[in-house]
């Protein structure tokens, strides 16, 4: 935290330089102060001991984005200071540390320099940035260079910035008719990312490991299902399990550098692109699971609950008494997460259908190729090296349209195959997203109403938000994020977090 302060001071100094020392430079900035309060409301099952009506978030954020430059050169800095509201004081020492009493974090979506036409038609952007690929609305299967930021469900589609070099060459080839573009914007973009940066997971992701009632939704192999059955019996008999989850990030080796390239153009008024990426999936998977002390004799059929029960009860008793070499208390279970290496090949297009009143239309497709995926499991049932998935491929698709039905009513709908957190052919779902915005009172009030429906499990998210812009540069909004569906479905599961009501206020400058 102390180092965070130093970084903040240095960056603030950077912000001031162009004003004081480089009066000739163009300097522009924007920013906001934002308060974001959220509360859970009943309607979704919660673990024992957790209130269904509780405060979920109390963020106070100050964000500044600044650009300074001359002609074809510019530098951009984005910096946000977020006070997270909830004290992290677990012991007496914590009470003496300001950062524990009043926690905060820094975020930055940009810190880069950009040179346009460093050679004719060749642009370079070097540094921390978020590279956007794809033409769909937020669900972009080809947008894989930066990892997703799942931390805030209301900022879905957000990404974590990463340091990279991006070169883009735009060919000086344009053919126009009187009313439309015949051919234009032929460009090739190449991105090189030296260090892998994983996606940030939501707080609810922890439940996948420490809430055994959710295991059914995350286990995806016979071995894990066996383990789950034994564990359920153990837990029901009074035993406890302590998970220690480690993450194996790709080493910063040249061989692990990520590269991507995208070729794009406009043909007959339609924007098109094809892309390729070689790197890593940004959501981790369990690669290695080991439990110590859960020793089931080999002659016991673990699917025979009657035979297994005495063994498990004996184990619970011995661990409670601490009479064996295995120790006592909870059974330690170590899990190692890793990021599968992938290659992605994709294409996208977007256009405006003028013969249909200017309907906006887009489609985006990505084929992901992965290697054989193995998982080592040793939980006292005999070690297993199982093949989680054979080398192969799977595809994701987003296609949709939007339209302004009137001057005050905007409509948007998309079909989505494969949610952003889904990996592997057997795990892809089908979804429909649809919603509208209604503008009222000279746009000082707006109502947003969106929903995502899981077509297979029939679970859904409903997301209404009312915006009020009645005061100068100030926006206040109230809304909700409600999940519908059985507890074992995509959106009904506790893994997606509780039903939420929120109120936000933002002053922009």
């Amino acid at each position: 935290m102390r180092s965070s302060r130093v970084i903040a001071a240095v960056l603030c100094g950077f912000l001031l330089i162009p004003v004081s020392a480089q009066g000739q430079s163009e300097f522009d900035y924007r920013g906001y102060l934002e308060l974001d309060n959220r509360f859970s409301v009943p309607g979704k099952t919660e673990p024992a001991g957790i209130s269904s009506t509780r405060f979920l978030r109390s963020d106070a954020t100050a964000r500044v984005t600044a650009a300074v430059g001359e002609d074809d050169v510019q530098g951009v800095l984005d910096l946000a200071l977020v006070f997270t509201g909830f004290p992290q004081t677990d012991n007496l020492n914590d009470l003496m540390i300001r950062e524990r009493v009043d926690p905060f974090r820094l975020e930055s979506d940009a810190l880069y320099i950009e040179i346009l036409d460093m050679l004719p038609g060749l642009d370079m952007r070097l540094g921390r940035q978020i590279l956007h690929w794809g033409s769909a609305d937020q669900f972009n299967p080809t947008n894989v260079v930066n990892a997703y930021d799942y931390e805030d469900p209301l900022k879905f589609g957000a990404a974590v910035a990463n340091e990279m070099l991006v070169l883009k060459y735009t060919a000086p080839i344009s053919v126009f008719s009187d009313s439309t573009t015949i051919f234009d914007d032929l460009a090739i973009e190449v991105a090189a990312v030296p260090i892998f940066r994983p996606g940030q997971l939501p707080a609810s992701a922890l439940a996948a490991f420490n809430d055994s009632s959710l295991f059914d939704q995350v286990v995806d192999s016979p071995s894990l299902r066996d383990l789950k059955g034994v564990q359920d019996l153990f837990l029901n008999s009074g035993g406890t399990v302590a998970y220690d989850v480690d993450v194996n990030n790709p080493e910063p080796d040249f061989a692990n550098a990520q590269v991507g390239t995208r070729l794009s153009w406009t043909l007959l008024g339609t924007d098109m692109g094809i892309m390729y990426y070689r790197g890593f999936e940004d959501t981790p998977r369990a690669e290695d699971i080991r439990a110590t002390g859960l020793n089931v004799p080999q002659n016991i059929d673990i699917n025979d609950e009657e035979a297994l029960l005495p063994v498990v009860e004996g184990l619970v008793a011995t661990r409670s008494n601490g009479v064996t070499d295995d120790g006592e208390g909870a059974i330690p279970t170590d899990v190692k997460l890793s990021y599968p290496r992938v290659q992605v090949l994709g294409a996208d297009l977007s256009t405006s259908l003028d013969f249909m009143g200017g309907v906006g239309l887009w489609g985006e497709f990505a084929m992901t190729f992965h290697e054989d995926l193995y998982r080592y499991i040793d939980v006292g049932l005999g070690p297993v090296l199982e093949q989680e998935a054979e080398a192969g491929h799977y595809w994701k698709l987003t296609t949709g349209f939007d339209y302004s039905l009137t001057s005050w009513w905007y409509f948007n709908a998309q079909y989505i195959r494969g949610f952003v957190d889904e990996f592997g052919a057997p795990n892809l779902g089908d979804y429909v997203l649809a919603g509208s915005e209604f503008k009222m009172f000279s746009e000082t009030v707006a109502l947003l109403l969106f929903s995502i429906l899981d077509l297979e499990e029939l679970s859904a998210v409903i997301y209404p938000e009312l915006f009020m812009r009645l005061w100068r540069n100030t926006e206040v909004s109230v809304g909700a994020f409600a999940f519908l569906g059985e507890p074992d479905t995509k959106f009904g599961s506790r893994l997606t977090g509780p039903n939420t009501v929120f109120i936000k206020g933002r002053y922009s400058f």
Binding site: D28, H132, V359, W362, S404, S442
Partner: protein
């Protein structure tokens, strides 16, 4: 887990409407009498309309910063400030300066149906369907069609309906293949400058929808001129938006690359 830039997106719809922002220019003149060229144009309404088009767009390129202020209603006092770069008949690039929540937003219009918007929060550049033309602009009385009606002669057929001491009044009828919401427009051509300083807009039902009044004609760097004060009144609601030109520069040699996605990606 859905998001959220949806509002950004809607804002982007709004800024799209600025893509063809007000071209309020034309030849400046201090003549007390009719412009000498008027004599040859009288009796040929279409030719007169074409001449007004030329005088309102007498530059190779133009950079204009304007402030649009809503007068009355719940958004009373709201000011939208933009800089618009224009080159040729079709190329336009717009940056938003105010209100603050729209800073960083930009739009490039390559044609009436090819529009790109930069969303400030994500700094993402997106193609937008031309349905956005249906949207009003930030609660003002302007919409895309109002703003895109810069060259009138290609879209309308003119006939003279009145002649006064100060103005020639033309009735403009929308051509058949043209996708504009106004079937009829009545324009008042100032005889001194051969420029339009009053426009009345009528819908398909013949209802008077809006009235635009232009004032404060000033001479531009190239000898052309710009109306520095423009009022657009919604005749149905009575709402008014006043547009003031803050500064203007013409023929500064804007580069073609300003009018593409590369330009949009710049800025904070």
């Amino acid at each position: 887990m859905v998001h959220v830039e949806r509002i950004d997106k809607m804002k982007s719809m709004n800024i799209v409407l600025l893509g063809c922002l007000l071209s309020l220019t034309g030849l400046g003149s201090s003549f007390a009498e009719d412009d000498p060229a008027l004599k040859d144009l009288l009796g040929n309404a279409q030719a007169l309309l074409e001449e007004t088009d030329k005088r309102h767009n007498s530059f190779d390129d133009q950079t204009i910063r304007v402030a649009m202020t809503i007068e009355g209603g719940t958004a009373d006092g709201t000011t939208i400030e933009t800089t618009t770069h224009t080159k040729g008949k079709n190329q336009r690039a717009v940056r938003m300066h105010a209100p603050a929540n729209l800073k960083g937003m930009g739009v490039v219009v390559k044609s009436r149906d090819e529009i790109y918007v930069r969303l400030p929060d994500s700094r993402k550049v997106r193609r937008v369907g031309s349905h956005a033309k249906r949207q009003t602009f930030m609660g003002t009385t302007w919409n895309f069609d109002d703003m895109s009606m810069i060259w009138l002669a290609p879209d309308f057929t003119a006939k003279q309906i009145e002649e006064t001491e100060t103005h020639i009044v033309l009735e403009l009828d929308r051509k058949e293949s043209v996708d504009l919401q106004y079937k009829k427009v009545i324009v008042h051509v100032d005889r001194k400058h051969i420029m339009i300083d009053h426009i009345a807009y009528y819908d398909d039902a013949g209802d008077h929808m809006k009235t635009q009044i232009r004032k404060e004609l000033k001479t531009s760097d190239n000898g052309g001129g710009t109306y520095y004060d423009v009022v657009m009144k919604d005749e149905k609601s009575g709402a008014v938006t006043r547009t003031k030109v803050l500064r203007e520069k013409v023929n500064s040699g804007l580069k073609d690359k300003m009018f593409g996605r590369r330009w949009l990606s710049r800025g904070p």
